[in-house]
């Protein structure tokens, strides 16, 4: 062991307290995890910042990175929304309350909240990548954090209404006076009262002002690709546009080598980058 006895490869023992489907096709499931040892809990929340991710770990099944979908003030649990993709996520989907699971983290840089103090936040998300943006919005909502930021605009798109995550909570955001929420789905549905269309078009329609604002974009690559130019068109400078990236990862701590874009490791130097930072990197995505 090292001098301080810390082995960054050892998962923190956790267990599931709540597990529920997030989408009607059961492809997205949310898990709320609590710490088996309270010391780990204190340590985690000392370091956690919205925008960070963790490696979920099950011995014999594997490990994979997931963005944290909860804010620290929500309670002594950590929330993840997991999309069923491969063998590991399929296994995670079978977990129920009481089951144990390992977690390594928090990992990565998270959102530069100190830098954003006093600014308007324009949060733009698509699909299940909205999870860390949900954590960010929840963080801002706390009465102690809310005065740190000016206006709050959230634009969130999903393919269908059935794939919209965190439905009940987001429904309550329409009643809040301190924020705007714009939800969108790709194709019209009966009873859908909000926007219909792709996220870049909705952003153009909402047309948030770049004045004293930062825009945070997380979504599938195709959405990000077409949303960034819209923001630039609206007058956002590359230094004020942020996005969170993902790549195949193993260690999550900048050692195993695979998640680099040019000289930057997404796990260690990211996952949050400004467009200005990305523009300086080679197109290795």
């Amino acid at each position: 062991m090292t001098d301080n006895g810390h082995n960054p490869y050892n998962p923190i023992p956790m267990h599931v307290v709540r597990a529920y489907f997030e989408s009607n096709d059961h492809s997205l499931k949310t898990f709320e995890l609590v710490f088996d040892d309270h010391k780990d809990c204190i340590e985690f929340f000392k370091n956690y910042n919205p925008g960070q991710f963790c490696q979920l770990s099950i011995f014999g099944k594997g490990e994979a990175p997931f963005g944290v979908a909860s804010a620290a003030w929500e309670g002594e649990f950590v929330r993840f929304t997991v999309q069923k993709m491969g063998s590991f996520t399929q296994y995670i989907h079978t977990l129920k309350a009481g089951d144990s699971i390992g977690m390594r983290g928090p990992l990565g840089n998270g959102f530069p909240l100190a830098e954003w103090k006093g600014k308007n936040l324009v949060i733009i998300g698509g699909g299940c990548a909205f999870s860390t943006l949900y954590a960010l919005t929840k963080h801002v909502h706390h009465p102690q954090n809310r005065p740190d930021f000016d206006q709050l605009i959230v634009i969130y798109g999903a393919r269908t209404s059935g794939l919209c995550m965190y439905k009940h909570d987001i429904q309550s955001w329409y009643q809040r006076e301190d924020m705007q929420i714009h939800q969108a789905i790709d194709v019209p549905e009966e009873d859908w009262l909000h926007h219909v269309g792709y996220v870049p078009d909705v952003v153009r329609e909402v047309s948030p002002s770049p004045e004293n604002a930062v825009a945070i974009v997380c979504g599938p690559p195709i959405m990000t690709k077409f949303t960034l130019p819209v923001l630039v068109e609206l007058g956002f400078a590359p230094e004020t546009i942020f996005t969170s990236l993902e790549k195949r990862m193993k260690c999550g701590i900048g050692k195993c080598g695979r998640c680099n874009i040019g000289p930057k490791y997404i796990c260690k130097d990211g996952p949050v980058f400004s467009l200005a930072e990305l523009n300086a990197l080679p197109a290795d995505i």
């Binding site: 090292t2 011995f59 491969g86 050692k255 080598g257």
Partner: protein
């Protein structure tokens, strides 16, 4: 301080170290030489001009290594990071020792110490073997290192006639040699002038000035397609590279172990994501990644080239791809013909 060890006394020296240390030295294993525990003097190959096929990085980052043992179903861990017995690694070429210091900047960083790496590093005394006969594939001086460099070594041997002249470089190294007679001033001069002569006689394989800037400029160039066409994607260049460190983490279900294995950017699956998207889908991107990592990204990280010029990738490439030629031609590519 330089000490003198008569060649005929080496066998006895290694044997006596074996009482207190695990001694590793290059020895013949089947057809080629490799760092293995010292068994027999007659099998030693450390004087061969050709370096060992496997670099000694495997003594710090084994090709396969258990990270955790777990009890199934309980998700409980058994700690497996164990401090090894103190060890002497004898006969390491300066390029390989240099490579280990480069890897220290990955595995032994302030923000995150890799405990598996650190316990092995801390337990090791590294005795270097200076290169009086560099091979044709060696190019350490080209990339800013040298055949008698001290980095990463506790002592360095220079071989002259029937004697080993041992330059002691650290306290750890000193502890092994204080019983030996010191060299005279004249002998010290002889050692240093030999070192300088060998170093200066090594040809320069390519120009490194502004190389990073040149490579950065041709990132999108078709050049990478051209040079990757004969590559088989076998990954031998990375597995035998002393500075390559990428690894994969997998669970060995039958043994209840989580292990890490050397991995390589030359494989398609290395960067393949769960969605099916692959940022490096062809050998064009993968060859580019390998060269850019060594000759550009390392410079961003620590200001040094991440290749120590050992020449293994040149010697063992099954289709004869020569990294020196690739870099030479890359620096002559006109960046105007970028097709983006």
């Amino acid at each position: 301080m330089i000490y003198i060890l008569e060649k005929k006394e080496l066998d006895q020296t290694l044997t006596s170290w074996s009482e207190n240390f695990d001694v590793f030295a290059p020895q013949k294993v089947e057809k080629y030489s490799q760092f293995v525990p010292f068994k027999s003097f007659s099998e030693l190959t450390f004087e061969n001009p050709h370096n060992t096929r496997f670099p000694p990085k495997a003594l710090f980052l084994p090709q396969t290594e258990v990270l955790q043992k777990y009890r199934p179903n309980l998700n409980q861990l058994q700690e497996v990071v164990q401090t090894p017995k103190p060890r002497v690694i004898f006969g390491v070429r300066p390029c390989d020792a240099q490579a280990v210091t480069l890897l220290d900047t990955v595995f032994n960083t302030q923000e995150n110490v890799d405990p598996y790496w650190k316990v092995k590093r801390d337990a090791s005394i590294v005795i270097g073997m200076g290169c009086t006969n560099p091979c044709q594939t060696c190019f350490c001086t080209t990339v800013g290192y040298g055949p008698f460099n001290h980095d990463g070594l506790d002592a360095l041997i220079t071989e002259i006639d029937e004697k080993y002249f041992i330059e002691v470089l650290t306290e750890k190294g000193k502890s092994l040699f204080t019983h030996l007679p010191p060299a005279t001033k004249d002998q010290e001069l002889q050692v240093h002038s030999l070192q300088l002569e060998v170093k200066e006689n090594m040809p320069i394989a390519f120009e490194t000035k502004n190389l990073k800037q040149k490579l950065d400029k041709i990132f999108d160039n078709d050049y990478w397609q051209t040079i990757s066409e004969s590559c088989l994607g076998c990954g031998v260049c990375t597995f035998l590279c002393p500075t390559c460190f990428c690894f994969d983490i997998v669970d060995e279900v039958q043994r209840n172990e989580r292990i890490r294995n050397w991995d390589t950017c030359m494989f398609r699956i290395y960067s393949q994501e769960a969605s099916g998207h692959n940022p490096r889908p062809t050998r064009r991107e993968r060859t580019r990644q390998r060269l850019m990592h060594k000759y550009s990204y390392w410079l961003d990280h620590i200001g040094k080239i991440g290749c120590t010029g050992c020449g293994r990738c040149v010697r063992y490439c099954p289709v004869g791809l020569d990294i020196r030629a690739m870099i030479r031609t890359a620096s002559n590519v006109k960046s105007e013909v970028i097709n983006d």
